[in-house]
C-alpha cells in the first residue's frame, strides 16, 4: 500500500525501540521495524474481526439450516424457506396483534434472530383482530393473502373455503380473508383428553397464573380478556370445540369402536386453520390437542 499509516487515530503503540543494544539501530531501521509490527497487528486484527463476524453470522444461520422442529408462523406465512428468505425482521406483525400471539425469535431459539413465530400453548392466534392484521402489516409479503404465481400452495395447505369466524357470523361478511392454513390441530395425546375419558371440567383452564388471552363473544367482542378470568363448568369437557374461533373446524363426535363400545372424541375437520386456540385452552398438561405447524389436510 502506498500510504499504510495515513492517520494515527489514537495514541500510537509504544514506539520505544528494542532494549538497548551495543549498537543502537538507526532511526530508519526502528521505523521500519515499527511499521512491520503495525502491519502484522493490522493483519491479525483484520483476521480476528473477519473471523468473529463470519463465525457469528454462520452460527446464527446453521441452527436454522438444521432446524428439526417446525414452528408455528403467523397466518398467511409463505412456506418456511420462502418465509425465512422474505421476512425482514421488523416486527410489525408483532405490533398489530391484539393478543400479542406473535413473538420474535432470540439468538438461542436457533431459527433466526428476529423472525416471528407463535407459541400457541402460551398465546394462540384467536383472530380477535377479525382481519388478520399481521398480514396487512407485513411490508415484504412474507405474510400474504395472495401468494405470487410461482409460490403455489402445497396440496392440502389451501383451505377449501374461506373460514367463517364465529365472531363474525352475524356480520354481512362473516369470513376471514385467509386462503391457506397455518397448520392443523391434532389430538396428539388422546389418552389424556378429558372428553375421551368422559370427564367434565370445572374451574380456570391452565390455572390462575396463566397469562394467555382470548376473545369471548359473550363478554366483549372487541376486547380479549385473560383466559384465567373466564372459569368454566362443563359436564363434558369441550373447551377446544367451544372456544374454536372458526365454524365447523372441530366437534366432539361419538365414535363406535370395533368392539362395539362407544367413545366421545374431539374430531378436527377440514376448515381447521391451525390457529392453536384449542391447544391454548386444553386444560390438561401437556395439551391433549396440539397444532402441527404447516401440516396439510389429508382427506
Amino acid at each position: 500500500m502506498s500510504d499504510p499509516d495515513p492517520i494515527p487515530p489514537g495514541p500510537q503503540p509504544d514506539a520505544t525501540p528494542a532494549p538497548a543494544k551495543p549498537k543502537p539501530a538507526s532511526a530508519a531501521q526502528r521505523l521500519s521495524a515499527e511499521r512491520q509490527r503495525q502491519a502484522r497487528r493490522r493483519v491479525l486484527h483484520t483476521v480476528l474481526l473477519s473471523g468473529g463476524v463470519l463465525g457469528a453470522a454462520l452460527s446464527g444461520w446453521l441452527p436454522l439450516a438444521y432446524a428439526q422442529r417446525q414452528r408455528l408462523r403467523p397466518p398467511g406465512a409463505l412456506d418456511e424457506k420462502d418465509f425465512l428468505a422474505s421476512c425482514i425482521k421488523c416486527g410489525q406483525c408483532v405490533q398489530v396483534c391484539p393478543v400479542q400471539a406473535i413473538r420474535l425469535a432470540d439468538l438461542v431459539d436457533g431459527f433466526g434472530v428476529g423472525v416471528p413465530h407463535i407459541d400457541a400453548r402460551e398465546q394462540a392466534c384467536d383472530f380477535s383482530c377479525d382481519a388478520v392484521q399481521c398480514i396487512l402489516a407485513c411490508p415484504t409479503g412474507a405474510l400474504t393473502y395472495h401468494k405470487p404465481e410461482f409460490l403455489q400452495p402445497r396440496a392440502g395447505a389451501g383451505l377449501a373455503a374461506k373460514p367463517v369466524l364465529k365472531a363474525k357470523q352475524k356480520d354481512p361478511e362473516p369470513t376471514l380473508n385467509l386462503t391457506e392454513r397455518i397448520g392443523i390441530a391434532r389430538l396428539t395425546r388422546p389418552e389424556s383428553c378429558l372428553a375421551m375419558q368422559g370427564k367434565g371440567f370445572k374451574g380456570q383452564t391452565r390455572g390462575a397464573g396463566f397469562k394467555g388471552r382470548l376473545r369471548y363473544m359473550d363478554v366483549d367482542r372487541w376486547k380479549p380478556i385473560p383466559v384465567a378470568d373466564h372459569p368454566y363448568d362443563v359436564p363434558e369437557c369441550d373447551l377446544c370445540v367451544r372456544e374454536c374461533p372458526v365454524t365447523q373446524a372441530i366437534s366432539i363426535e361419538t365414535l363406535t369402536l370395533a368392539d362395539g363400545t362407544k367413545r366421545r372424541q374431539p374430531v378436527v375437520h377440514e376448515p381447521c386453520v391451525g390457529c392453536g386456540v384449542c391447544e391454548m385452552v386444553c386444560p390438561v398438561e401437556q395439551a391433549a390437542i396440539e397444532v402441527v405447524p404447516r401440516e396439510v389436510w389429508r382427506a
Binding site: M1, S2, D3, P4, D5, P6, I7, P9, G10, P11, Q12, P13, D14, Q38, R42, L44, H45, T46, L48, L49, S50, G52, V53, L54, A56, A57, L58, G60, W61, L64, A65, K81, D82, L84, A85, S86, C87, I88, K89, C90, G91, Q92, V94, Q95, V96, L104, D106, L107, V108, G112, V113, G114, A137, P139, T140, G141, T144, P148, F150, L151
Partner: protein
C-alpha cells in the same frame, strides 16, 4: 464542477471502498488553492492568528447535541409507538411505517431481495421513499443520526480513548477494504442460503428490536462488538465492517447535503481528524492537500458534525449544494 474536484469526486468513491487517500499532484490542484497553500507557508501573521484562535477556542457540542437528540427521538418514537400504542412509527429500523407510509432499510431490503429473489410492491415503495430521502440527506447520515449502535459505539469510543490515554489499550487500525468484502460476502450468503444471514448479526437490527420488543440474548453479540472496539480497535464495526454503512455510503454519493471545507481559514492542525469516525474523508485538510479553495467532503462522511463543532476556524461547515447560489 472543475477538473481537480471532479478527479477528487471519483477518488472519494474509491475511498468509500477502502482506498487510502493520497497526496494530490500539483497539477491536480487548482491555481486558486495553490495560491492559498503558498500564502500560508511560513506566514507569520497567519501563525499569530492561529495561536490567537487556539488561545480563545471554545468547545462546542452544538451539532453533537442536535444529533444525539435526533437519534434518541427517532428511536424513542419507535419504542413509544409500540409501547404506548401511539402508532406514529410502527415497526423497527429494518422496516417501518411512518403514519402509514412504508419505510424500509435499504440494506435489509437488499438482503431480502437477494434471499427471496422476488420483489413485492410494498417493498419497492418503502425502499424507494427511503432511497430518495437518504440520497438527499446524504446516505451515511443514517449512521450517525439514526442508528442506535452508533450512539453506543460513540460512548464506547470515549472509554477507548480514555483507556488509550492511560496507555492501557492501543488502537489497531484494520484494513478498510474489509467492509466491501463483508458487503459482498453477505450479499452472496443471502443469495446462496436463501436466508438473510446478515440480519442475525446486524447490531442495528438487534438493538432496534431489543429497544422496541425487549432485550434478548442477541445483545451479547452487540456487547462483544463494543468490547472489541474498546480494547482492540477504535470504532471497528462502523469503520471497517458494517455493510449497512457501505450501502448508505453509495446512496449518498450524489447527496447535496454535506460538509464543505474552506481552505482559506484552515490552520491545518488536524483537530477535526482526531474526532472523525472516518478520518480518511478529511484527508483534504492536511497542509497542501486541498485541491481547491472549497472542497466538499466525500460520501463516506456520516454528517455527524463533530468536525464542524471542533474546527476552531470555521473552515468546516454544513452546506446544501446549490442552496447558496439559489439564495
Amino acid at each position: 464542477m472543475n477538473n481537480p474536484l471532479q478527479k477528487r469526486f471519483f477518488e472519494q468513491i474509491g475511498q468509500l471502498f477502502g482506498r487510502e487517500p493520497t497526496r494530490p499532484d500539483e497539477a491536480d490542484i487548482s491555481p486558486a488553492a495553490q495560491k492559498i497553500h503558498l500564502f500560508k507557508q511560513g506566514n507569520r501573521d497567519f501563525i499569530a492568528e492561529k495561536k490567537h484562535a487556539r488561545a480563545h477556542a471554545v468547545k462546542k457540542n452544538t451539532w453533537r447535541n442536535r444529533r444525539w437528540a435526533t437519534l434518541i427521538t427517532a428511536n424513542l418514537l419507535f419504542v413509544l409507538s409500540y409501547g404506548l400504542d401511539v402508532q406514529l412509527l410502527e415497526g423497527s429500523l429494518t422496516a417501518s411505517r411512518f403514519i402509514g407510509f412504508h419505510l424500509i432499510d435499504l440494506n435489509s431490503a437488499l438482503q431480502v431481495m437477494l434471499a427471496h429473489k422476488h420483489i413485492i410492491v410494498n417493498l419497492l415503495i418503502g425502499t424507494g421513499t427511503v432511497l430518495l430521502g437518504w440520497a438527499l440527506l446524504g446516505g451515511r447520515t443514517f449512521c450517525s443520526w439514526v442508528c442506535p449502535y452508533h450512539l453506543l459505539a460513540e460512548w464506547a469510543e470515549k472509554l477507548h480513548l480514555y483507556l488509550a490515554e492511560k496507555k492501557l489499550v492501543t488502537d489497531a487500525p484494520i484494513d478498510r477494504r474489509l467492509r466491501g468484502v463483508f458487503w459482498l460476502v453477505f450479499a452472496l450468503l443471502a443469495l446462496a442460503t436463501g436466508y438473510t444471514v446478515y440480519e442475525a448479526i446486524s447490531p442495528t437490527g438487534i438493538l432496534s428490536r431489543a429497544l422496541i420488543y425487549g432485550p434478548g440474548l442477541a445483545l451479547l453479540w452487540v456487547i462483544a462488538l463494543l468490547a472489541f472496539e474498546v480494547f482492540f480497535s477504535r470504532r471497528a464495526w462502523c469503520r471497517y465492517a458494517c455493510p449497512i454503512g457501505l450501502t448508505y455510503g453509495v446512496v449518498g454519493i450524489v447527496s447535496p447535503l454535506r460538509v464543505k471545507y474552506t481552505l482559506e481559514g484552515c490552520f491545518h492542525e488536524g483537530d477535526c481528524r482526531k474526532v472523525c469516525l472516518v478520518p480518511h474523508v478529511l484527508d483534504t485538510v492536511i497542509k497542501g492537500r486541498a485541491v481547491d479553495s472549497e472542497v466538499p467532503i466525500g460520501p463516506d462522511c456520516t454528517r455527524c458534525g463533530l468536525c464542524v463543532d471542533t474546527c476552531p476556524s470555521g473552515s468546516l461547515k454544513f452546506e446544501v449544494k446549490g442552496l447558496s447560489k439559489l439564495l
